[in-house]
């Protein structure tokens, strides 16, 4: 460390104490991935243009590539994926939009990529089904906002939720630019008279806990299945259509890296600077 840098850090530290936003102290504050850093290679990034602008990646960062054409053109595939996800994770269905909880859902182009502008839109684009979910961002703003570390980033880049730690402040919902988080406004474990939970269409999956009311939840990239060497449920539901490819985007030899190199992909809201790990081929 040369003298100049040390001096700078000293000043930065002092100003931090004084409550002034010195850049270095601020970066420390912003380390959203306080629990488990995925390598800390973020500082070198200069542009918010997505993964392309990033310096040498370190550590694992799981990601997902979604081939929108394949999803749209294989009839019923989107619904199958959603069903697989929601069944696997006991996602309740309250039957009204106000209390809705969703981990994986579809929307049209306009409302998935509101910042992309077009003139005379490509006809095919109108009917495309975009599968939306938590992007497991590399610099997740939800993790930065959570006051209890109930939302945290895993070593493998997955943004996880600790339902028992969550105080239900919903700060993370305000912070996520993708609307990827849902809150249990009501008790998902409300029971029917005959002892069955009311808001689950299917028998419960005993492998995954149900939640209580008052906590936030979202997609977790099927962290539990990954630990058993399985693929995420939605990816499995796609079978060999190749509509979804999952893997470590930091490993140049992985299949997903190959797909990313060979195709033109877009991410949602790259200007948010969160570096989403979900990519769309359109």
């Amino acid at each position: 460390m040369d003298v100049k840098r040390r001096k700078f850090l000293k000043i930065a530290g002092l100003s931090a104490v004084a409550g002034v936003a010195a850049p270095s102290a601020f970066n420390m504050l912003l380390k959203g991935d306080a629990v488990a850093s995925s390598g800390g290679g973020h500082a070198e990034k200069t542009e918010n243009t997505g993964h392309a602008a990033k310096a040498e990646p370190k550590g694992i960062q799981y990601g997902l590539v979604i081939d929108v054409k394949k999803i749209t053109h294989t009839k019923g595939l989107a619904e199958k994926c959603i069903d697989a996800c929601h069944t696997e994770h006991n996602v309740p269905d309250f039957g009204n939009p106000k209390d809705e909880i969703k981990w994986l859902w579809v929307d049209d182009y306009e409302h998935s990529f509101p910042e992309h502008s077009h003139h005379q839109k490509n006809d095919a684009l109108h009917e495309m089904q975009f599968m939306l979910l938590c992007n497991h961002c590399e610099k997740p703003s939800c993790v930065r906002a959570c006051p209890t570390k109930a939302t945290f980033k895993n070593k493998d880049g997955i943004v996880m939720m600790d339902y028992h730690r969550c105080i239900g402040c919903r700060f993370c919902m305000a912070a996520c630019p993708y609307g990827a988080r849902s809150f249990n406004w009501r008790n998902p474990r409300e029971q029917y008279a005959n002892g069955n939970f009311k808001f689950y269409k299917k028998p419960l999956n005993p492998e995954f806990p149900t939640r209580m009311r008052g906590v936030v939840e979202k997609c977790n990239f099927c962290a539990k299945r990954l630990s058993k060497g399985m693929m995420p449920s939605c990816v499995e539901a796609c079978g060999n259509t190749g509509a979804m490819v999952f893997g470590d985007i930091n490993d140049p030899k992985s299949e997903i890296s190959k797909v990313l190199r060979e195709n033109y992909t877009i991410q949602r809201k790259p200007a948010s600077g969160t570096y989403p790990s979900v990519f769309y081929i359109i």
């Binding site: 700060f171 849902s182 008052g214 948010s272």
Partner: protein, 384 residues
């Protein structure tokens, strides 16, 4: 000193009983919400914060506004505020107590609130907000009580209160700045993502807090035989005028940036709040009303002849307070959520339980304020 709160005329007790009644009604609704979850409110997946957080934000401002008395009195030795500085400090206590109640009402898991302390998370602005809010509350409780107690005993306040008083000044600015940071550090929410949010918050706080104080001071003159003095009242009016002017100037800057740049994200919320967006216009009437009454009152206050009459002052302060209440307590939070970041609009309607709980928190704040002011006024009148 506390016993001073226990004797009063029948009007005093009727008021206390009324407040207790409101608190019990809201309390019952809170129990209902506690049992059934936040589903009983009008909030939804898109609009995930509503009245509670809006009111919280506004009350932080009222609390911070107390500093507009502390600063001239202690730093510039402005004697005219001698009688009412304590009222400012006590108002801050009541306002912060309300903030804490609003936050608690808004939590999905209120019993876990200690997690914020057990797992300190410096990257979260909420953590810092908790620190400054509690710090400010603590400072005001100590300072207010000790200073008043000394007055009661007719001795000068102990020396050690001075540094605490000076410390309370940056804390007042801090609570509202950090509360603005809760909003303006979030990507994807254009209405909040503006560097002028903290200045806007402070300007509106320095108008809203003193407005409330002015109203209370005029009320105390009538009901409690406590005269703050015309000089102090006029000065408060001046402070309110300039803070409100700044507030509307800052609002104008937001309009310029939004509409001159023509950036859709920056325009959408302003469109929704002030003119209606795709036929959704729930908040247009209140927001236009807010700007209208706020600006009218501010302009009137610029005329010295208008300001001379206490009745005029009370009306103008009431208008400014209402204006800022609508703007910050309702529009600010909803504006950030209702047009969601995906160009969809989900409107929000507060429910009966939600409104009852909000009224109960206001009543609880008023109760704290009444009791504290009762003590302060009795002590002051005794020594006068």
């Amino acid at each position: 000193m506390l016993e001073k709160a226990l004797s009063g005329k029948s009007g005093y007790w009727a008021w206390i009983l009324f407040l207790l009644g409101m608190i019990s009604i809201g309390g019952l609704f809170y129990v209902y919400q506690y049992i059934n979850g936040l589903g009983v409110t009008g909030m939804s997946r898109d609009v995930s914060w509503g009245l509670y957080i809006g009111q919280f934000t506004f009350m932080v401002g009222v609390a911070a506004g107390g500093v507009m008395l502390v600063l001239p009195y202690y730093i510039h030795d402005y004697k005219a505020f001698g009688k009412i500085t304590i009222l400012g400090e006590f108002m801050a206590i009541a306002a912060i107590a309300m903030c804490i109640m609003f936050i608690t009402a808004d939590l999905g898991q209120p019993l876990r609130i200690l997690n914020v302390i057990l797992h300190p998370t410096p990257n979260s602005m909420l953590f810092w907000d908790m620190l400054v809010l509690n710090g400010y509350l603590f400072l005001n409780v100590i300072i207010g009580w000790v200073v008043l107690n000394s007055e009661y005993k007719d001795v000068p306040p102990p020396k050690w209160t001075k540094p605490l008083i000076y410390l309370s000044i940056p804390f007042a600015v801090g609570i509202h700045t950090v509360t603005a940071f809760l909003y303006c550090g979030l990507p994807g929410r254009h209405y909040w993502l503006t560097a002028i949010l903290a200045p806007r918050f402070l300007a509106s706080a320095f108008a809203a807090g003193p407005s409330l104080l002015l109203l209370i001071a005029l009320l105390l003159k009538r009901v409690a035989n406590f005269d703050a003095g015309d000089k102090a009242i006029q000065k408060l009016g001046t402070i309110i005028t300039y803070a409100a002017l700044l507030n509307f100037f800052f609002l104008g800057l937001e309009f310029f940036v939004g509409y001159y740049s023509q950036l859709p994200g920056h325009m959408h919320t302003l469109d929704y709040l002030f003119f209606g967006l795709h036929g959704y216009d729930n908040l247009v009437a209140p927001m236009q009303f807010s700007v209208f009454i706020g600006m009218t009152a501010t302009i009137l206050m610029l005329f010295p002849q208008f300001k001379k009459s206490h009745r005029n002052l009370a009306i103008a302060a009431g208008m400014i307070f209402t204006s800022l209440f609508i703007d910050k307590g309702v529009g600010l939070v909803l504006g950030g959520f209702v047009p969601n970041p995906f160009e969809r609009v989900t409107e929000y309607y507060p429910t009966v339980p939600e409104i009852a709980i909000v009224l109960a928190v206001w009543s609880a704040g008023a109760l704290i304020l009444t009791v504290l002011y009762k003590i302060a006024v009795t002590v002051k009148n005794q020594n006068a």
